[in-house]
């Protein structure tokens, strides 16, 4: 392990914002699409804004889909990056990485819900995990902007609600996902990014037990 935090460019425009958020935490992350460098990283972050189809196509054309699937160090998908961790996205009927079981669905358009879901929403803890450490204070808001979401499942650590509950934070072993933008979620986001960086490669996979 090189100890580097590597940002993988999946075509999202938020990659700069994520890098600045890490800078504010005192971490100089590098952007790379080099498989060797990604494999050697201590932590890998997959930011993303945009559509699932182009995002997956971009990973596949560089062979990074296979590289990411095989990673054993902590991996964090942000927003679209989280959705790409699942098996499939309804957006453009796109097969995704499949490291988290489940399918990403669009918010229903016929219920009067305004889509995209845009703004600050609350995080409700579903399952305790080191990724959520320190989140019991009064402010539990995170900033969301998305039109697709994963339902709540066994991989869900925190949910949020828009029409119905959906997954806000997920974890399947070393693969973590945040549907909101931690880089734009003020102190709560900084805390959660810090928690991710504190995860070690040897950390036990999340099993569903309450560890608090």
């Amino acid at each position: 392990m090189s100890g580097e935090v590597v940002l993988v460019d999946a075509g999202g425009t938020n990659i700069g914002s994520v890098r600045y958020a890490l800078e504010r935490l005192g971490v100089e992350a590098v952007m790379s699409d080099d498989p060797g460098r990604i494999r050697a990283a201590s932590h890998v972050i997959l930011p993303g804004v945009g559509a699932a189809g182009p995002g997956m196509a971009r990973l596949r054309e560089r062979g990074l889909d296979a590289v990411i699937r095989a990673l054993t160090q902590p991996v964090l998908g942000v927003c679209l990056g989280m959705q790409l961790l699942f098996e499939h996205s309804q957006e453009g009927d796109t097969p995704c990485l499949g490291v988290v079981p489940g399918r990403v669905l669009g918010f229903p358009r016929d219920t009067g819900l305004r889509v995209p879901h845009m703004g600050w929403n609350t995080l409700d803890t579903v399952r305790e995990d080191p990724l959520l450490a320190g989140l019991d204070a009064g402010d539990r808001h995170a900033y969301f902007v998305h039109g697709y979401a994963a339902p709540v499942g066994p991989y869900t650590l925190a949910s949020s609600e828009y029409g119905a509950p959906f997954s806000a934070v997920v974890r399947q072993g070393n693969f973590c996902g945040m549907q909101f933008h931690p880089e734009r979620s003020a102190a709560v986001g900084a805390r959660l990014l810090g928690n991710f960086l504190a995860l070690g490669s040897a950390s036990a996979p999340s099993t569903g037990e309450v560890v608090a």
Binding site: T13, N14, G16, S17, Y20, A21, E23, R24, V49, G50, A51, R114, V115, P116, H117, M118, G119, W120, N121, T122, A137, G138, D139, H141, Y143, V145, H146, G147, E161, Y162, H181, E183, R184, S185, A186, A187, G189, A190
Partner: protein, 261 residues
């Protein structure tokens, strides 16, 4: 629960924040990043930076200040003014902005909205609409409002334009009600309610905030997702933490950044 947002709007000219009355007579309010940080600390939910002279002067937004803001703050922000192409938008988004807002250039060439939505996703694409009621009672769109000498009245009805912008891929609409802007007599509830009825994406009210009750009114009666204001925040007349407490007491869901236990 999704909260209603408060958005201080910082009009930018020559790298400084300015504010005018009815879009005229601008005075300098201060440095962009200083003000951005002040609002972040006060609990602003989002910031909008309008480069008000870029579009009338045919310039693009300067990337340097966008990058300075992006490094400094950890809440979302939108940049408006002078974005005429996918390349302009890419520049601003890659500098760290979360959204771009298009106004005059989208009126010149509505296809720009679709191109931006295709390139970056609808969540990045905000369409700003400057609207004024004409003598016949109809609301119509204005163009190039950053410069009073270049402002143009169009024949396009505001409601038609909001509908078209959504069809093309707008992810959010900011309705600037020019008749109430800067005079602090309250938001244009009637116009906002009419636009709300046809707007299926988030709607941001702009123009007219003077008292905390104006914010209560616009959220409760016009059901907007966010309220944008400038002078009442810049001048210190309304402090955002006090405003949020006022809204909370009135039953409007807002994000508290302090411990409420």
């Amino acid at each position: 629960m999704l909260k209603r947002r408060l958005i201080p709007c910082l009009d930018v000219r020559d790298g400084k924040v300015v504010k005018g009355v009815r879009f005229r007579d601008h005075v300098v309010m201060g440095d962009i990043v200083d003000l951005a940080l002040r609002y972040r600390d006060a609990g602003a939910d989002e910031l909008v930076f309008y480069d008000i002279t870029a579009s009338p002067e045919g310039r693009r937004v300067e990337r340097a200040w966008v990058e300075r803001v992006a490094r400094g703050i950890d809440i979302p922000f939108c940049v408006a003014g002078g974005i005429r192409s996918v390349e302009d938008a890419r520049d601003v988004l890659h500098a760290g902005a979360d959204k771009v807002s298009v106004n005059s250039p989208a009126l010149e060439r509505p296809g720009l909205i679709a191109e931006l939505a295709e390139a970056f996703g609808v969540q990045c694409v905000v369409v700003g609409v400057d609207s004024m009621r004409d003598a016949d009672g109809e609301w119509r769109v204005r163009q190039y409002t950053g410069n009073p000498d270049k402002t143009r009245a169009l024949t396009r009805r505001t409601l038609d334009w909001v509908g078209e912008a959504q069809r093309l891929g707008a992810g959010e609409i900011v309705l600037n009600c020019m008749g109430t802007d800067g005079v602090r007599a309250g938001y244009d509830i009637e116009q906002l309610s009419r636009v709300r009825a046809i707007c299926e994406v988030p709607l941001v009210a702009s123009g007219g905030a003077g008292t905390p009750d104006h914010f209560v009114e616009v959220f409760r009666e016009a059901h907007v997702d966010a309220a944008l204001a400038a002078s009442v925040f810049h001048g210190g007349d309304i402090a955002i933490p006090d405003l949020k407490k006022h809204l909370g007491r009135a039953g409007v869901p807002v994000r508290y950044t302090w411990n409420t236990d």
